[in-house]
């Protein structure tokens, strides 16, 4: 039983240095002979039926001791992870050979099995001990403390990451919608006022249009009544009307403030293609005056200037 605790207490040592494990095992075998013999006995039982056969077999094999060695070597090569193990194997081999020489062929065959069983047992005991441990009811898992830490860290990381992700997304969305305002269902006073101003502007324009077009309205030849009235009017009245209308239209423009070109030559035809400046870039004609007239226009043309002054 002395062998049992040893692998348990020194599993990390065994992992790092297999030499240590092997030696106590070998020593333990010497001490715990009973077990070893038991196993051998078991093998012996099993072999009892085929005793002669096995004996024959061994004997037939005996000349091929070198062959056996070769096989062992091959197995060693096959299993070998590092040199230490090889050495150890060789060491145990030599031990076994000594044993074999003492106890005969039968034992030499069983010795290898015992050794293996020993290692297996150590592992088994260790495993059982671990499995028999009472575990704390921990969701993170019982096995390794490092595992515990790692899992905890990972979980924490996940939790930490998830939150900033959502926040970043929200921030991004907010940034994308910066300045975007969804209007209320009802008009507030500001909106109403703005609507009023706009309405006023439209009214002003329509009035200006009415003023400017009323003089020409009679000219509408599509209505027979108007045409009759028109027929009565002579060319003279028409000409005076023209002169008047040009003056009027100038006034109308000034008051309406919607058009930019206040100063037009009076003798210009109404239809653009008949004018001398049509598509010639009329702005070039009086480029030197443009600056001054622009300023003048601005002052006269700012729409609803009167309104704003009224408001104030």
């Amino acid at each position: 039983m002395a062998a049992a605790p040893q692998p348990l207490t020194s599993p990390p040592a065994a992992a790092t240095n297999p030499h240590k494990r092997k030696k106590p095992a070998a020593a333990g075998r010497g001490k715990g002979r009973g077990k070893g013999t038991k196993q051998i006995g078991r093998h012996g039982k099993r072999q009892k039926g085929a005793d002669e056969l096995s004996e024959d077999h061994r004997r037939s094999r005996k000349p091929s001791d070198r062959f056996l060695k070769l096989l062992r070597k091959r197995a060693r090569d096959y299993n070998s992870d590092d040199e230490d193990e090889d050495e150890e194997l060789r060491l145990s081999d030599s031990d076994e050979e000594e044993e074999a020489s003492v106890s005969g062929n039968e034992e030499s065959g069983g010795g290898g099995v015992t050794r293996f069983e020993e290692g297996c047992r150590a592992f088994r005991v260790a495993f059982q001990k671990i499995m028999a441990k009472k575990l704390p009811d921990d969701p993170l898992g019982p096995i390794l403390s490092a595992h515990k830490k790692l899992v905890a860290a990972k979980l924490a990381e996940d939790a930490g990451e998830g939150k900033p992700k959502g926040e970043a997304h929200r921030e991004k969305r907010l940034a994308a919608e910066k300045g975007h305002v969804i209007p209320k269902d009802h008009l507030d006073s500001k909106d109403k006022e703005l609507c009023k101003i706009a309405t006023h502007g439209v009214v002003k324009l329509f009035n200006a249009v009415a003023k400017a077009q009323n003089s020409r309205k009679g000219l509408n030849p599509s209505r027979t009544k108007d045409a009759k009235v028109l027929a009565k009017e002579t060319k003279q009245t028409f000409l005076t009307e023209l002169n008047k209308s040009s003056n009027q239209s100038q006034k109308g423009k000034a008051s309406s403030n919607f058009s930019k070109h206040v100063s037009k030559d009076e003798d210009e035809p109404g239809w653009a293609p008949l004018r001398d400046t049509y598509m010639l870039g009329s702005k070039l004609k009086d480029w030197d005056k443009a600056q001054a007239s622009d300023v003048a226009n601005e002052q006269t043309e700012i729409p609803l200037d009167d309104d704003s002054s009224e408001e104030e």
Binding site: A175, A176, E177, K178, G179, H180, V181, I182, P183, K184, D191, L194, C195, I197, A198, T199, H200, G201, V202, V203, L205, F206, N207, A208, V209, A210, A212, Q213, N214, R216, K217, S245, S249, G252, K253, S256, F258, S259, K260, H261, G270, W271, A272, P273, R275, T277, Y278, M279, S282, D294, V295, N297, E298, E301, I302, P303, L304, D305, D307, S308
Partner: protein
């Protein structure tokens, strides 16, 4: 003569290859003529202002919608489906704008996620840079209304522009007023058809807050003194529901519900100069109703440059200390290719300056 010969030659030789065998002007000439004609108003002979609305840099979807709304607002003399690519720089737009007769640019930018709108005249400038403090899309406004009204016909004519609150202001605003007035074709009161006045753009300046409010309304005319039922009958072109009535006259004489609530404001009534539609006849009184169609914006004038997104900074006036820095920025801006980055950087500086002032 040449025309006839060409026509015959086509017919003889082509044998139905051409489209109907009609004589065609050489494509290049036709294109040029068409372009020249398209840029000039046939009645007034003025150059029609045309506009491009586009954006520079990466835009969140909301601002993309705003861009599309602004395009709709600038109809009909704008490119509704203008596609800009990442590699297009401002120079490309300027190069295209010449042959197409485009005179105005509206450029949306989003430097450091604060939306900006710059309005510029091409190709010489000036450029007005506004920060968009708040904005609402046309769809938002339609959603907020019980009965949104936005028939597609109203976009066939350019909007009227009403400027308010700009009177008696200093230089940047004076030139801004002219800029806004030139943004849409001029209206000649003597010749304008009232039926073409369907939309109105209100630009209101709040002096205390230094904020320009930008609203877009549709104009609806309602005849005064006509009951709602008659109006609906005329408008809908539908056979009215007379099931509950004993006599046809009841349909007219019975008072409707809504008509009394719409008390006509005296200030909002006009006598029309010409026929607008079959309900609003000439020399009849009509009430003007405005309904907002959006988009709406609150703009803050941040910077005025003399060139197109470059050149001397006219507003805010650079202070002696900061003048050096400003000059440096200008030089950077003039370097082509990296304009966007530079523009975005330079956007922020004037804000700071204006904040200090």
């Amino acid at each position: 003569m040449a025309r006839v010969r060409n026509k015959n030659g086509r017919r003889g030789g082509g044998g139905g290859v051409g489209k109907g065998g009609k004589w065609k002007m050489p494509a290049s000439v036709a294109r040029k003529q068409q372009a020249a004609m398209a840029n000039v108003d046939q009645v007034t002979g003025d150059k029609i202002p045309k506009s491009f609305v586009f954006s520079r840099g990466k835009m969140p979807p909301m601002l993309r919608h705003l861009q599309q709304d602004l395009r709709k607002l600038m109809l009909p003399f704008t490119a509704l489906n203008l596609k800009e690519k990442k590699r297009n720089n401002l120079k490309d737009f300027v190069n295209v704008s010449g042959p197409l007769g485009v005179t105005h640019f509206m450029i949306l930018t989003n430097p450091k996620s604060s939306p900006h709108l710059r309005m510029a005249k091409t190709p010489q400038g000036p450029t007005y840079t506004f920060q968009i403090k708040e904005y609402s899309l046309a769809s938002d406004i339609a959603n907020s209304q019980k009965r949104p009204r936005c028939p597609p016909e109203i976009f066939k004519n350019s909007p009227l522009i009403v400027l308010n609150g700009f009177a008696g202001l200093g230089q940047p605003f004076k030139s801004l007023v002219t800029f806004f007035q030139n943004m849409t074709p001029a209206i000649d009161p003597a010749t304008v058809k009232l039926s073409s006045c369907q939309r109105i753009l209100l630009i209101h300046y709040d002096r205390e807050k230094e904020i320009i409010t930008f609203r877009h309304y549709s104009i609806k005319l309602q005849p005064v003194g006509v009951t709602r039922k008659i109006r609906k009958l005329m408008q809908n072109n539908k056979v009215p529901d007379l099931r509950d009535l004993n006599d046809v006259s009841d349909y007219v004489t019975k008072a409707g519900y809504g008509s009394e609530s719409e008390v006509d404001d005296e200030t909002a009534t006009v006598s029309l100069a010409s026929d607008v539609d079959k309900l609003n006849r000439a020399s009849k009184k009509s009430a003007i109703r405005l309904q907002e169609i959006g988009p709406r914006m609150k703009l803050h004038l941040v910077k005025v440059e003399s060139g197109l997104c470059s050149g001397e900074v006219l507003y805010p006036k650079p202070e002696p200390n900061e003048g050096v820095v400003g000059k440096g920025k200008e030089v950077e801006e003039e370097i082509e290719g990296q304009e966007d980055e530079d523009l975005m950087e330079s956007d922020d500086d004037p804000e700071d300056e204006s904040g200090e002032e």
